[in-house]
């Protein structure tokens, strides 16, 4: 019984980490597509979303089956609950990656817009948060997860800056309105990805320490 549970837990962990890797890759690719104005890469990101959605359904199905079959307690229960929540968050991140990729397709055909230097910081921080939250999940490292939560403030700050920067761009040049609007949209999706990465990190703290830290950061 316990052995079967352990095998199932391992399998679930593998599926979730695989999905995490897929979502991280999709996020990174969508960002690269945006920066490099690469339509082909952006379309690849959009195409892989179906696989991510399938993955989400499969993980949810397995997790529910395990709850019904093994009726786990304590750490095992927390783990499965966390898997369900992280699974959901990952799927949402995948959707945002698709949205960014869609913006990238549009932006590739438009005049390049002058992005503030802070944009690079935003992109970098979001990628770091994504990577760190998944690493925290793999390592069950609550200290790293807590660090991810604090990184979100930086993202929020840069996100606010981007609005004013884009407003300036639009004021100065009417032709830049369309690319600027699309850039703001992409930035918003990046900010949402950072929020969801923070959610994942909070769920990891809950899984490891059993303490609910949501809304504390």
């Amino acid at each position: 019984m316990t052995k079967h549970l352990q095998i199932d837990l391992d399998g679930l962990s593998k599926e979730l980490l695989t999905m995490g890797a897929m979502v991280e890759e999709a996020t990174n690719r969508s960002i690269t597509a945006l920066v490099r104005r690469d339509k082909t890469l952006a379309r690849e990101v959009i195409a892989v979303d179906d696989a991510i959605n399938d993955c989400e359904n499969r993980i949810e199905d397995h997790a529910l089956k395990m709850l019904a079959l093994h009726q786990p307690v304590a750490a095992d229960l927390r783990f499965i609950i966390t898997v369900l929540k992280v699974n959901n968050d990952l799927e949402r991140i995948g959707d945002h990656a698709v949205s960014i990729a869609e913006r990238a397709v549009v932006l590739a055909d438009l005049e390049p817009v002058r992005r503030p230097e802070d944009f690079d910081r935003l992109v970098e921080t979001v990628q770091q948060m994504m990577k760190a939250s998944l690493t925290a999940l793999v390592e069950r490292d609550s200290a790293l997860a807590r660090k991810v939560c604090t990184m979100d403030d930086e993202v929020d700050r840069v996100h606010r800056l981007m609005y004013s920067a884009m407003q300036d761009v639009m004021r100065n040049d009417v032709r830049q309105i369309e690319p600027a609007v699309n850039t703001i949209s992409a930035t918003r999706h990046l900010e949402r990805i950072a929020d969801l990465a923070t959610n994942i990190a909070e769920d990891i703290v809950f899984m490891v320490e059993g303490e609910i830290v949501r809304h504390n950061y």
């Binding site: 391992d10 962990s13 593998k14 980490l17 695989t18 995490g20 890797a21 897929m22 991280e24 890759e25 990174n28 690719r29 690269t32 597509a33 920066v35 490099r36 690469d38 890469l41 990577k131 998944l134 793999v138």
Partner: protein, 606 residues
């Protein structure tokens, strides 16, 4: 207790031996003691019988008479002297006299077993507990005859206390005589058993130590018997084991060294997909920490999903699986080819898998460049050809063409064929350069002369474009080991490029100098400049920053490519500094010919 005495083998070996010795001693002892006791009894009976016969003679006159106290006194005195008890009994069983008791208080003795036997057989003995003396006693009775008629009995008796004392003495003697040899035999046995057990214990200990990893351990047992042979065999085995382990360790180190030296990444996993090895290249490609990843599931270690997929599938489907994964980064795409192979154990069962990661980014990039080159060259050749064909066909069709137009057409055809010819000659130069040094003729040459000549020939073109061309040459010859033709091509290309891309009123500075044993040629212009993202690509064949402009200038798109190849073929380097709108500076550095005069002068001039 010493370990040897805890040995079970010792006690198993010794217990049987000791039991046999002790049993033998006991049997011998018992037999001897019984024999001796029998002798003692016999002896005492003989004594009793002798006494009885003597007492009978004394008692004979009195047996038929009533009890007589003087007779009784006499018997009593006799008994006191000999220590033997005497009893005289009348025919009817009445006790007439007793050496130890008052006869009046004694029972009738007619029914005593020894008396009855004496009456019937002439003598009777009996051994029983005597209430009279309160001790086990031996009785012997004989009949007293008076005138041939049975008249009474004489009985002698002795307590067995005396008998016991005698036999105890005999037993002690026998025991003493047995204990010494038995002890000696037991001691000797222990020594023999120990001599078998001790080497056995040593072997056990050594075998355990060897198993625990102490392969230097050897047995020091030198005996000619089977135990010695066994010890030698054990030593040989340990030696071979050590040699084999050493071989394995060497093999393992070799394998690790090979893996570490490989450019390709190698990741091996066990059946449960736990990482058992990841070489340095794999760690670099996947960005993982080799030590931390050992023993962990591969999907926890790397986020590149294809790696765990390839390994898992190779194991499940039991076949080699080749796939490719593209990892796009901000700068360029990384393309990794994955070859996953299942691993089998000694029993041919699948025991894991290994994946080889081959970074084919450069290969793919080269393929792309080659593809582009073929596409570009076709395009470049086709453009002037199409123009020529169009012009010629028009001239053929339009017979009535006026002379002026015809002249213009012919001039255009001339231009296009010159362009074609330039293109082909540039391609030939490139291919000559690409085939390596074999296509070049190296000799001592003065670079200063080449640069001066190039500037002379192009000063006209510069003047036409209203560009100031200023050659800055050193006072002494700059001798390098080079191909005159190729170097001229290099300088011409750089100078003409600089003139072409500099707007009227600008300047082109050509500077030749020597620096740290190298000739350094710098061509600086105040032209349109090259954007930073294009700078790494301007040396590619057919790469043009501004396509329309380049063709308009009559460029083939191969100039800078030729420059780069010439510099490289001469073991030199080329670098570019440029900012859009502010101009570009190309810097070529080629080693001076060693040991010539210009080097000394060059050094002095610095």
């Amino acid at each position: 207790m010493k370990p040897i005495f805890r040995s079970r083998f010792l006690w198993e070996l010794y217990a049987g031996y000791a039991a046999v010795i002790i049993a033998t001693a006991m049997v011998v002892g018992v037999v001897l003691v019984r024999d001796a006791e029998h002798g003692v009894l016999e002896h005492i009976r003989d004594g009793l019988q002798r006494d009885a016969v003597l007492v009978r003679d004394i008692a004979a006159p009195y047996v038929a008479l009533p009890p007589d106290s003087s007779f009784e006194q006499r018997i009593r005195a006799l008994g006191a002297r000999t220590g033997t008890r005497y009893t005289v009994i009348a025919l009817d069983g009445t006790v007439l006299a007793d050496s130890n008791e008052d006869p009046k208080t004694m029972d009738n003795h007619r029914d005593r077993p020894e008396i009855m036997a004496a009456a019937n057989n002439g003598m009777g003995t009996s051994t029983r507990f005597s209430r009279t003396v309160s001790a086990p006693s031996m009785y012997l009775a004989i009949p007293v005859m008076k005138d041939g008629v049975l008249a009474g009995f004489v009985r002698t008796s002795s307590t067995l206390e005396a008998i016991r004392q005698r036999s105890d003495a005999v037993r002690r003697g026998i025991a003493l005589a047995l204990v010494l040899p038995v002890a000696a035999a037991l001691g000797l046995g222990l020594l023999v058993a120990r001599s078998f057990t001790r080497p056995l214990l040593d072997m056990t200990e050594t075998a355990r130590a060897v198993a625990a990893g102490d392969h230097a351990r050897r047995l020091h047992i030198h005996r000619g018997d089977e135990i010695g042979v066994l010890a030698d065999a054990l030593n040989t085995m340990t030696g071979q084991l050590r040699a084999q382990i050493d071989t394995m360790a060497t093999d393992r180190n070799k394998t690790l060294a090979i893996l570490a030296g490989m450019v390709e990444g190698v990741v091996a996993v066990d059946r449960e997909e736990r990482v058992v090895h990841a070489n340095a290249a794999a760690q670099a490609i996947l960005g993982i920490d080799g030590r931390a990843s050992l023993g962990r599931r591969v999907w926890e270690v790397t986020r590149v999903v294809e790696v765990s997929e390839a390994l898992g599938e190779a194991m499940r489907q039991n076949r080699v699986r080749v796939s490719e994964v593209r990892i796009p980064t901000a700068q360029k795409d990384q393309v990794i080819q994955l070859t996953a192979t299942p691993l089998r154990n000694a029993g041919d069962a699948i025991d894991g898998a290994v994946v080889v990661l081959h970074d084919v980014s450069e290969l793919r990039q080269l393929e792309a460049v080659r593809r582009d080159f073929v596409a570009n060259i076709s395009h470049e050749l086709k453009t002037p050809l199409t123009a020529i064909r169009g012009l010629v066909e028009t001239m053929i069709d339009d017979r009535a063409m006026d002379a002026e137009t015809r002249e213009r057409f012919i001039a255009k055809i001339g231009d296009q064929s010159t362009r074609l010819s330039n293109l082909v000659s540039d391609l030939l130069t490139l291919s000559r350069l690409e085939s390596g040094a074999s296509g070049l003729r190296f000799e001592a040459m003065d670079l200063r002369e080449t640069v001066a000549e190039s500037c002379r020939t192009q000063i006209h073109a510069a003047e036409t474009r209203k560009v100031t061309l200023t050659p800055g040459l050193p006072g002494a010859p700059v001798t390098i080991d080079g191909d005159v033709e190729a170097m001229r091509e290099l300088v011409d290309n750089l100078v003409s490029n600089a003139i072409k891309y500099t707007p009227p009123g600008g300047r082109v500075d050509v500077k030749l100098a020597t620096e740290n044993g190298s000739a350094v040629l710098e061509v600086a212009d105040t032209g349109i400049g090259i954007p930073p993202e294009e700078q790494s690509r301007v040396f590619e064949r057919f790469y043009r920053v501004d396509k329309a402009r380049s063709r308009q200038m009559g460029g083939t798109g191969l100039g800078l490519s030729i420059v780069k190849h010439v510099a490289l073929a001469h073991g030199g380097t080329i670098s570019l500094k440029s900012a859009p709108g502010r101009g570009s500076t190309f810097r070529v550095q080629v080693g001076l010919k060693p040991g010539n005069s210009s080097r000394r002068e060059g050094t002095r001039s610095e």
